[in-house]
Symmetry: C2
Subunit: 392 residues, 2 copies
């Protein structure tokens, strides 16, 4: 486990926005009435928030003001604000896990900070010092440590958000902003131990080349609500978004398939980052772990004679149908911070379903091996290339 | 001038959401400190708001609650709300004008209501009764009538907005919402009497087939902030968005060109509504007025021997270059509620500019004729097909 400072310093990140927003100037106002932590079965994703939140305001004349931790509660925003009128918001999804030593850990947080910075730039929101924001996250998680679930598969979900607050309906960049961080104790994203079903959709289109699909911006999400309702009505859990013939991602998750090349060689394929796909940190981690097996590490449950070949390449529904007919489509799974690795049982397209082989517990052998290794690293049971970062 | 009730009744709009949200149940809380109305030269678009606003909340268990008018001020929203996290917002732009009789008028408001309803549906926001919302607008405008500017070219801009307020970071439709209406006295959108310049941009892409470009949703706008900054750095006022070879619209305005067919025939062309273009109400009005000249009405300043042929057809930069080289590209202009009709002086693309013929005051004869007729209708100086609607 590497402490956060070392991780970021190793990445060459230094303060860029001057002394303001400095985490050392944090003011803390504690709540007068602490909430009871709900039992694990009530820790549904995104339903419950902890007692406190971080708030940092950006003033165009001054820059980032001193950060504060204050009781969780509503934000008071002018009705003409950029966020209300033009959807000016970027965010991240991260998790804190409790290790066997009782200490909280983050998972590759420097990648979340770098992505948040890119997202802010895409929507012309003010830049920020990644190191200071990460320190604010760790301070908030430390203050709220009683909220980190001990139940296996549970964690404290972290949602850093930056909203544009310029109080003008003129269509231009927001020169005021609020960065805030909220925490939500959460169980598994899908509270079922069976695989999920996807509906492949090429109309409407979620993201497109030259659009914002490669950034974690709020504007990618609300346009998916109505199609998601439609998919649910047809009996599918989520949408597999397409651009023309190509499959891209699941909206809140990246998409992978496992294709049998021969008895000892499996191809792990996900579509390339062409601007229509979010560069997921779990995606990146799955690609790295798959490439490491078996030469650098043996993933549990996978024989060491099996070689995993990780690829980023275009995938079409026609590819999936062909592989399925040939009996070579062994697994499909989706990855993301919230779900980690979710098994996929069927994919509907143009009126018929591709069915994946069934597996006990909903995950195929490759997905299960990746899920277990990643959660082992996240919870500090295994060390791997400093991916687990002590939250202190 | 037709009263609002008759206009909507003629369109077959009736209450759809039951008795809730009923404008007759409006509660009014007046401000304790009325602001001074600033002089015309300080009425910059979107800078100043009036004393009051309409607020109506939607509760998933109840529906739309009774509407209220209250002092203009911040909205208090949970940090996990759908609007902050996923950009769940739709809006409209309308204007109230003072007529020669001292009465306020709206311009084709039933089209704004219908579009707002479609936009809400696209983002899975609750539906609403268009007639009740329009009544709320007229009541607010009536209450704030001292804010309607008398200066020529000025008006009271109206911004109805619906935001999703579901307090959960789970990615799904917002089952709570707030509809609110704010007003801003405004002078001309472009405070210059010379034509604007456009930079044609095909990367990034604003909207795409199957996307949300055909709806007035917040998420279309914040991704344009950074490209807009870039265009301004290069010396252009606005972007002319392209999809591949095709030009689409200006982001906050639709795009038109006037092409000389022969001495007496002019083609007025705008790209078709293919899902990448907002169905503008000024756009629709320009097409209708152009088609009416000279057979149904003679637009001022245009000889009645000149026939205008209005078309919706695909336009490419290559078309524009060809017509410009042939001397047939007489005018280009942009239309929208804020700007009404704005003349375009040059269009940059791939390092060189297409220059349009210069005209005194910035508008060519066709653009000027359309601008004057539309503002005559808006301000009640001319009657035309019930487009002007008395605000009472």
């Amino acid at each position: 486990m590497s402490p956060i400072g070392a991780t970021l310093a190793a990445n060459g990140n230094a303060a860029e926005t001057g002394p303001n927003g400095d985490a050392s100037k944090l003011r803390i106002t504690l709540t007068q009435s602490r909430k009871a932590v709900p039992p694990p079965e009530e820790q549904i994703f995104g339903k419950i928030y902890t007692d406190h939140m971080v708030v940092v305001s950006f003033d165009p004349a001054i820059g980032w003001l001193d950060p504060e931790i204050r009781p969780y509660g509503p934000l008071s925003i002018d009705p003409s604000a950029s966020i209300f009128q033009y959807g000016t918001s970027v965010f991240e999804g991260m998790k804190a896990y409790l290790g066997p030593d009782g200490k909280a850990r983050l998972f590759r947080p420097e990648h979340n900070m770098a992505r948040l910075k890119k997202s802010a730039d895409r929507l012309a929101l003010p830049s920020f010092d990644e190191y200071e924001v990460l320190k604010l996250i760790t301070k908030l998680v430390a203050l709220e440590s009683r909220w980190i679930p001990e139940t296996k598969g549970h964690s404290l979900y972290i949602r850093p958000t930056i909203i544009g607050t310029r109080p003008s309906i003129g269509v231009r960049a927001s020169d005021s902003a609020i960065l805030y961080i909220i925490l939500s104790p959460t169980g598994p994203y899908f509270r079922i131990s069976k695989p999920i079903s996807l509906l492949a959709v090429n109309e409407p289109v979620r993201a497109w080349p030259g659009g914002t699909g490669g950034h974690k911006v709020a504007t990618n999400y609300s346009p998916t609500f109505k199609p998601q309702q439609h998919a649910e009505k047809l009996g599918y859990d989520q949408i597999l978004w397409m651009v023309g013939e190509k499959v891209t991602e699941v909206g809140a998750m990246n998409f992978f398939v496992v294709i049998k090349r021969d008895d000892n060689d499996l191809d792990i394929i996900t579509p390339p980052l062409d601007g229509t796909i979010l560069p997921g940190i779990t995606r990146k981690s799955v690609l790295a772990l798959a490439a490491a097996h078996p030469s650098h590490t043996v993933l549990s449950g996978l024989p060491d004679v099996v070689r995993l070949h990780a690829h980023e390449r275009e995938l079409t529904m026609s590819d999936l149908r062909t592989w399925s007919a040939e009996g070579r489509l062994l697994e499909a799974f989706a990855t993301g911070t919230a779900a980690i690795v979710a098994g996929i049982g069927r994919i509907g397209f143009e009126g018929s379903d591709i069915r994946l082989p069934e597996n006990e517990g909903g995950l195929g052998p490759v997905a299960k091996a990746l899920f277990e290794r990643i959660t082992d690293i996240q919870t500090g049971r295994t060390e791997w290339e400093n991916w687990g970062v002590l939250c202190e």
